[in-house]
Symmetry: D2
Subunit: 299 residues, 4 copies
């Protein structure tokens, strides 16, 4: 049985007394805090916090907590400054997720397995593939699969028009689910600027290199040619600036001279799976906050 | 397309000139070696090698190579010494595997996903569970599932008789497949001495601790109580001496004071999956040789 | 130039409103908090916090802060419960350290190098060796070296008496320095129960294995014999129960079948150095709190 | 007591029968091989091997072995192909090393400590600093220190002339020692093309980032600005193409949002020390071979 909790996240310009203000108000209504994390980025002058409250200690539930946190947030506003951002989420509502995939199965399979086993508390509403290859994986896990063909890569107007149309079709499938996360699980297509904006803070990509090394295509082949001794993967929010979005999680795996590019791809897959799963979990549990292109990821 | 190879493994008492003897004979028939690894355990006086030969360079195939390696092996015998062990395997034959499971899905799901994606070259012929919980996972991947109920743990005669009968039933399912590996993928039942012997060198277990720490039951709870800063997992061959079989692979994951036993279990699962997959791959690719209770694992 | 800070640590029985109580009081005197960490061990019902205050924001300095925190602590006392523990430390006072060593130089050399380079803010007042081997290392770094010979290991009365006398001599050298940490940097002698008690919470040991694996003597040889794939090290507080003190930090390094016990010792040394340095830093920066045999180590 | 060995390294165009040719000749003179490693880079068509021979098994010593290996090498030459490279080194001769440093002490201190403790078998003949800061560290370890001032960075002719003159002075100190390795232990000056060529295959640098990420200056500040979750270090051979030389060793350390650039620098130092020590050891033990800009590093 899942314990029901209310997750409060708040970030604002840094100054003295914020923690006292927040915790004082929470204590005032008898809220029992089970987890609390704070970060003050002194250089940037920005404060972030995440507090987890036992739902049972707040009779009025999320609405009551929203009223209280909203009042605190209003006090923390700095005239002319960057606005305070805050949110209260009730864990009784399972987060909704849509996965975008291409031909490689490892990330899709891993995420669906974590959902099946109850390890990742999420509701994958749909899988969209630009190829029809992974339909059996999705359907074996009881998730609807949608095939949206994309034109071959080419930089002429026709290809661009085709891609825009395909993305429009993807958006039509995705948006009605109002997903908390749209995961590019080795999707291999670059989102349009319009979708980057519409899905800002919700679109998550797994890049198969330790960014900023080896941006662009075929990173494992680049890594092999350079003779690196570690290969890695990066989970990041999608922004219009390709491969430059805020990094949520990274990890690496050791390789050596005996590893061919194919071996690196195989070793890298395990890193990709882990890094994406960890990054997505952090996002779905409201552990990630973004400011000035960098993330705070509360453990 | 998979390149066809012949994998030669040989181990014998160590002395000067073994490598020359082997490689000389292989060169003599024009065999093209694509991978070669050697290890001499000087303290134990024991030599091990693994050579991978391009099948196309040996017109007579595995049989021809067996004749040649057999002759070398005969020359390497030491009268009164430990016998030479050798084998030639043709990679055209996909290894057969049977998985034994209980209620936890993560290892089963991970291994079947690797098979589906073509990452692990194996043919999982059957999954046997002492509970019926994981049937959907097996069947979703097209693998037959067999439920063999086990009696509840108790140390009376009745329980022992029930366990022996259940294991006899498991063996009846497993043995006709002549599996190259019987994997206890979080099976949670201790093999009988008879099965340990019959499946010696083929039964592989994943233990959810960094052995020899926390042998026995509930290792993550033990780890939490001791306040360790890393949790781990161990893939090992099964022997009658519980949790003491030759170790194939181990790894760890960082934890801290904020992790409850449940968090440790969750973090540990990712290590278990990886360690089991790596250990099984090494076994199926004939990379593991055992001598005096320790493994040589050629990379 | 080192920024001057006041470090507040407090631990007490857990209940609602502690953070609000503490941060409210700190905010009340205008204290500017630059770092804050909290941990509530729900199962044990124990709360811990560490707060770093900018010295410049508290005109009355450490004394003023002690008065304030002392009042809060008094409010948090639970009649009949475990007493509240708290402390305020001014970072203007460099922590004093004494190192106990034997023949192996790597940990001693590493710690003195970190002091020399300004990386570890500590004042090593003396090095005591049960052999005279490491005198040049200490003296090259300008630290006095004291040689206190110990009797060879034997379990007769004479040896015990000799050890007790030697330890008495060590204590006479150590205690006048009133050290914040007494570090057993591969000292290889078991502290007497009396010294364990006198130096409780200040005596730190580096054990050359991943505890609780391979307790006792020659852990690398034990690890080699068992065929493990990782070797490790453990930094822990010294308690009368050998190798069972609260763990501050651990790490591991990969080994394989080609590593002899000597290779493992060499690889292990790098882990020992790192783990000890990290553990000691955490201790000296008041990041470690102990409850019920387990540590909270604030990052 | 150090066991005396002869280390044979050889690399040549790949073809069938090379191992048989080498090991056959070695067996023919009764050479007892204690370690052997091979690598065939199939894509590049290049073969590399390292063999360690017990000196006691070769009465004629290194000269005798050179005669034998020279004959094999002659047979392996391919007309018009890349020449065979080979070497026989007697471990009785301790390798000579010169260290180039600037102001940061951690790498210098670490390497000298490893020499002092007998862990790295090398003879550091001299330390050259472009500042006089680290003289006490060198001299405390009994190594002569030479201060060669460099002009401040500027791109005018005068600065270039000054740098060239300073480097000429460095070379005059370094070259008479005929060093097996010239180590840029955080030297912070770019070698002239002339020295890159003269010291090719012997000049080793430690770069304070996980190359190819964050090439150029202030990599930790770059890493912080990008918000990466790991920082790393790279040990590589120096080539005229800055930060692009063949990579010998790399590793990383986890960081998070709470780490300032200064924290990253501190965490990174431990990685730099380890990576440089491992890379230098591999070089001095003839474990590294370079082909086409990539290294083979035999374990």
């Amino acid at each position: 049985m899942r314990v029901r909790r209310l997750v409060v996240t708040l970030s604002c310009p840094d100054r003295t007394g914020i923690v006292a203000a927040i915790t004082g108000r929470l204590a005032g209504i008898g809220a029992s805090i089970t987890e609390a994390a704070y970060h003050a980025d002194t250089a940037a002058g920005w404060f972030s916090t995440r507090q987890v409250v036992d739902r049972a200690s707040v009779p009025g539930g999320a609405d009551m907590l929203r009223a209280v946190v909203g009042q605190v947030a209003a006090q923390l506003e700095v005239p002319g400054g960057e606005p305070v951002r805050w949110r209260v989420r009730d864990t009784a509502a399972t987060p909704r997720v849509v996965l975008l995939v291409s031909k490689e199965s490892h990330c899709l399979h891993d995420l669906l397995g974590r959902m099946w086993g109850g390890e990742l508390d999420m509701d994958v509403r749909a899988v969209v593939g630009n190829h029809d290859v992974l339909r059996p994986v999705a359907e074996a896990h009881g998730v609807p699969f949608h095939h949206v063909p994309f034109p071959a890569r080419a930089d002429d107007d026709e290809a661009r028009t085709g891609r825009d149309a395909a993305f429009a079709q993807v958006a039509e499938i995705v948006d009605p689910h109002e997903p908390d996360a749209i995961v590019l699980a080795r999707f291999m297509q670059v989102l349009t600027p319009g979708l980057c904006e519409r899905w800002a803070g919700r679109a998550i990509n797994i890049h198969h290199s330790f960014l900023p090394s080896f941006m662009g295509a075929r990173p494992y082949h680049q890594a092999h040619a350079r003779g690196v001794k570690l290969v890695g993967a990066t989970c990041h929010y999608v922004t219009p600036d390709l491969d430059a979005g805020p990094i949520i999680e990274q990890d690496v795996s050791r390789v050596d001279h005996a590893d061919t590019p194919e071996d690196m791809i195989r070793r890298g897959r395990d890193v990709e799976k882990l890094v994406l799963a960890r990054g997505l979990r952090a996002h779905l549990e409201d552990r990630v906050q973004v400011h000035a292109g960098r993330t705070v990821v509360f453990r």
